[in-house]
């Protein structure tokens, strides 16, 4: 099991290793970690810490994408959760109540998305677009358009504090990643999610309740997005409904794709997505540390995506498959590159 996971994430580990070495090359002190005032410091720690929001989002996004879906609303959900947490603590409640309220808001958003997808059969991209557009407005409504600052130590601790010297965000995303991985892999959830992502018809015929599963993955996505939103708000000691989580859904999708998970659903690896999130953060870091103007960040990111996507594209995959396997009956008669496996009705005589 562990060996299989390792084999699965090997490409991501290699890419991460290379990017980290690049970091080291441009900044020799990169791997230096020290303890100051009982807190770990170092560039590596920064990468892990700064990468927390995208890492958290990528957990939920991995599950959603595994079902052939997508969740565009996570950035807006982050803004809502941050706003809810801030308004609850400024209202005088404790940090834990604020956290619970924020998580509840995240779950509510997830439920909304899940219902639209599972029961109304709205395409996921359309269904989650609604919340992507409206959600940020809702967050601004809660904060009344201002950056709603707070001084609650407990809440700030979630973003800026430490647990046994480790920054709290790192602890949270590692714990969340481990928890969700354990839940999906120790229960049958992971397999059933993969089954509906690969072949929903066959899964339904095998007796799987795809609706419940779909709602579950969007709930998860809403939940981790809320956590990420709270962390971001806590980090800056305020909820910024305008900018919190802005375009982070795209980074999260990217992390999942870099993690080698297919956008067409099916087999997934949360660990690989988390590594994908770290790769994105390390790329940011190398550009920052190299003294290269940060403006190159996006161009490089774009080029990396393009390379990874081309490798993942069906046509390249098929050519690799053709090179490896001897031509099978279906492959030998594909009329053109754009043809897909024909529906059964047509292949029969």
């Amino acid at each position: 099991m562990i060996a299989a996971t390792f084999r699965r994430v090997l490409p991501q580990l290699l890419i991460l290793g290379v990017v980290l070495l690049l970091n080291f090359a441009v900044f020799p002190g990169f791997f230096h970690i020290e303890v100051q005032n009982g807190r770990l410091f170092g560039n590596l720690i920064d990468v892990l810490n700064r990468g927390a929001p995208v890492a958290l989002l990528s957990i939920g996004m991995t599950l959603v994408i595994a079902t052939k879906g997508i969740d565009l609303s996570v950035g807006a959900v982050m803004a809502i959760a941050g706003a809810v947490a801030a308004s609850v603590v400024t209202g005088g409640a404790g940090w834990f109540t604020a956290l619970l309220a924020a998580l509840a808001a995240g779950l509510a958003c997830g439920l909304w998305n899940g219902m639209l997808v599972a029961f109304f059969r709205v395409q996921p991209i359309v269904a989650t677009l609604v919340l992507m557009v409206a959600g940020r407005g809702v967050a601004q409504l809660i904060t009344e358009g201002k950056i709603m600052t707070f001084l609650n130590e407990g809440l700030i601790h979630l973003g800026a504090g430490t647990v046994f010297g480790i920054p709290t965000p790192i602890v949270i995303w590692l714990a969340m990643g481990a928890l969700v991985t354990l839940v999906v892999r120790r229960t049958a959830l992971g397999m059933l999610i993969e089954a509906i992502g690969i072949n929903e018809t066959a899964s339904r015929l095998a007796g799987i309740n795809s609706r419940v599963l779909l709602v579950t993955v969007y709930l998860t996505s809403g939940f981790v997005a809320a956590l990420a939103g709270v962390i971001v708000a806590a980090d800056i000691k305020g909820a910024d409904a305008n900018n919190a989580g802005l375009w982070m859904e795209l980074d999260a999708i990217l992390a999942v794709v870099i993690g080698g998970n297919s956008l067409l659903g099916g087999r997934f690896s949360i660990v690989a997505s988390l590594l994908g999130a770290l790769i994105i953060q390390s790329v940011n870091s190398v550009i920052l540390l190299s003294g290269m103007p940060p403006e190159f960040n996006l161009v490089i990111k774009a080029l990396i995506i393009i390379v990874i996507l081309v490798i993942q594209s069906p046509i390249v995959k098929q050519s690799i498959y053709l090179l490896r396997a001897k031509a099978s009956s279906t492959v030998s008669d594909m009329p053109g590159p754009a043809s897909r496996p024909q529906p059964a009705k047509e292949t029969r005589s």
């Binding site: 397999m191 089954a195 072949n199 015929l205 007796g207 008669d333 047509e346 029969r348």
Partner: protein, 502 residues
């Protein structure tokens, strides 16, 4: 008469190989102007492959095609259409989101001053469709019209663009009787104008009603070309099935079945399967016989709740139940191995192990995962019991051969310990060895007291293991054969003559 006429299309010695396997072996097809020519054969006989090779959807590996005396070599359906061969498929290949005129004229719209002339287009569309006996508003969306009208629009487009040969690939499969009449009158109209029409269907009645001649394919070879006026339906069925119609020996006497476990009254779904009664008892195999499209698969689907029945009732061991979805069927200890393994059965990228335990796990719910040891035990047991040949249970199921995939799907359902197992074409497309093993398994399960429904196009198979055989035709149960009545001969007769239950 046709011997004096010049053929409009003459395909000679068409060969087609798929990765070494022969799909078409020197197939000849000759069409005369003004005739409706049926292309017949069971599944996998090569009908679609032949059509695709003729129209250039496939690249043929041998043979020549002559159209109007000139050699042609179309590279794509679009090219063959330009040459004069139009094709209309079972699923209407038109665009529901566009208007009827758009669909008729896409790619060859009338132009005026370099822009589309909509008025002219609609006018001509109206005119053309009138010629097909349709008085509809062509500015409306195609989707606002019934499938039959869409089918006629598809025919009209194909004829306007090609005009010599029209190939109709199961155009009536999803139409009701009145709608079929509409399509038939259109076809007759076309042939009277000198077109040649190839008609592919599984409904033999329709063949005899509409067609002049038939070419019958079996296993990629032409087994006969007949003038339909000279032969009976039985002759054609024999040709298609290729059965040496001597009575197949029934296996050893079956023990008598037990209690009735599932009982259906007036069970059916409009447009899919006529209401039927069926009592299923422990320890019996009910065979479903009939040609493709006769309602075999539909019966299986409606019982399992893949499509929920809109009439009738079902009782399980005396208690009334609703079979509204596969999930409820699973909860009531039913199982279904679907006809189309690839799209409805296997979850390709999951491992064999996961595929085997999928239904059992689905019934338990995701919160209660099967223990690893239990999974291994189940998988080992069935891999051994069914002799599933694999390198490892961890390999993706799509890499297994057809027979082994089928065994794994059987294992999936057997693992749920069902009371009732429905098998739709359990032996299709699998090798001889696995074939015999699956038949043995069916008998074993019956002896253990399971109730089975098996739909199959293989007569000998049904004869070998069925306690009763229900014969279907035109989506209706027409005959039930019991005991000594169960012979391939009787089954074929019931299918072709549609003799009603005595």
């Amino acid at each position: 008469m046709e011997t004096q006429m010049k053929p409009i299309l003459r395909a000679k010695g068409i060969d087609k190989f798929f990765a070494g396997a022969i799909a078409l072996d020197k197939v000849d097809l000759t069409l005369y102007p003004g005739e409706v020519h049926a292309l017949l054969g069971e599944n996998g006989a090569g009908k679609s492959t032949l059509i695709k090779s003729l129209t250039g959807a496939y690249h043929r590996d041998g043979g020549t095609i002559e159209l109007d005396g000139a050699q042609i070599d179309p590279r794509s359906p679009v090219e063959s259409q330009a040459l004069g061969i139009g094709t209309v498929y079972q699923e209407v290949n038109l665009l529901e989101n566009m208007s009827v005129s758009d669909n008729l004229f896409l790619g060859w719209q009338p132009m005026k001053r370099r822009l589309l002339d909509h008025r002219e287009m609609h006018r001509r569309a109206r005119e053309i469709l009138k010629g097909y006996g349709l008085d509809i508003d062509p500015t409306q969306l195609l989707s606002s019209y019934s499938i039959a009208i869409q089918q006629v629009v598809a025919i009209a487009r194909a004829v306007e663009l090609s005009g010599k040969v029209l190939i109709l690939d199961e155009p009536t499969a999803s139409l009701d009787r009145e709608e079929i009449e509409l399509v038939f009158s259109v076809v007759r109209n076309l042939t009277s104008r000198g077109m040649a029409v190839v008609f592919i269907t599984h409904f033999l009645d329709q063949v005899f009603e509409l067609c002049d001649r038939a070419t019958v394919l079996r296993n990629g070879c032409v087994v006969g070309e007949r003038k339909l006026a000279d032969v009976s339906q039985g002759d054609i069925v024999e040709l298609m099935l290729g059965h040496h119609l001597e009575a197949t020996k029934r296996r050893a006497k079956q023990s008598s079945p037990g209690e009735t476990i599932l009982s259906m009254k007036g069970f059916g779904k409009r447009g899919m399967i006529e209401p039927f009664d069926l009592d299923l008892r422990e320890g019996e195999v009910v065979g479903l016989a009939g040609l493709l499209g006769s309602g075999r698969t539909e019966t299986c689907k409606v019982i399992f709740g893949v499509v929920s029945a809109d009439q009738g009732s079902a009782e399980l061991s005396g208690k009334s139940i609703r079979l509204s979805s596969p999930r409820t069927a699973l909860e009531h200890s039913l199982g279904l191995c679907p006809e189309d393994r690839k799209t409805d059965g296997i979850v390709g990228d999951l491992s064999v192990r996961e595929n085997i335990i999928l239904s059992l796990q689905a019934r338990q719910g995701w919160t209660r995962p099967l223990k690893r040891s239990r999974i291994n035990q189940i998988v080992d047991e069935y891999v051994k019991a069914l002799d599933i040949r694999l390198a490892s249970p961890n390999m993706p199921i799509r890499l297994l051969s057809g027979g082994n995939q089928q065994k794994a799907l059987l294992a999936r359902w057997l693992a749920t310990e069902p009371d009732i197992l429905i098998l739709d074409e359990p032996t299709r497309g699998i090798d001889v060895g696995a074939h015999a093993e699956i038949i043995d398994l069916i008998e074993r399960l019956r002896e253990q007291g399971m109730a089975l429904i098996v739909a199959s196009s293989e007569m000998e198979e049904l004869v070998a293991y069925s306690t009763r055989v229900v014969v279907l035709r035109d989506r209706r149960q027409v005959r039930e054969l019991r005991g000594e009545e169960i012979t391939t001969d009787r089954i074929v007769k019931s299918i072709s003559q549609g003799e009603t239950a005595a």
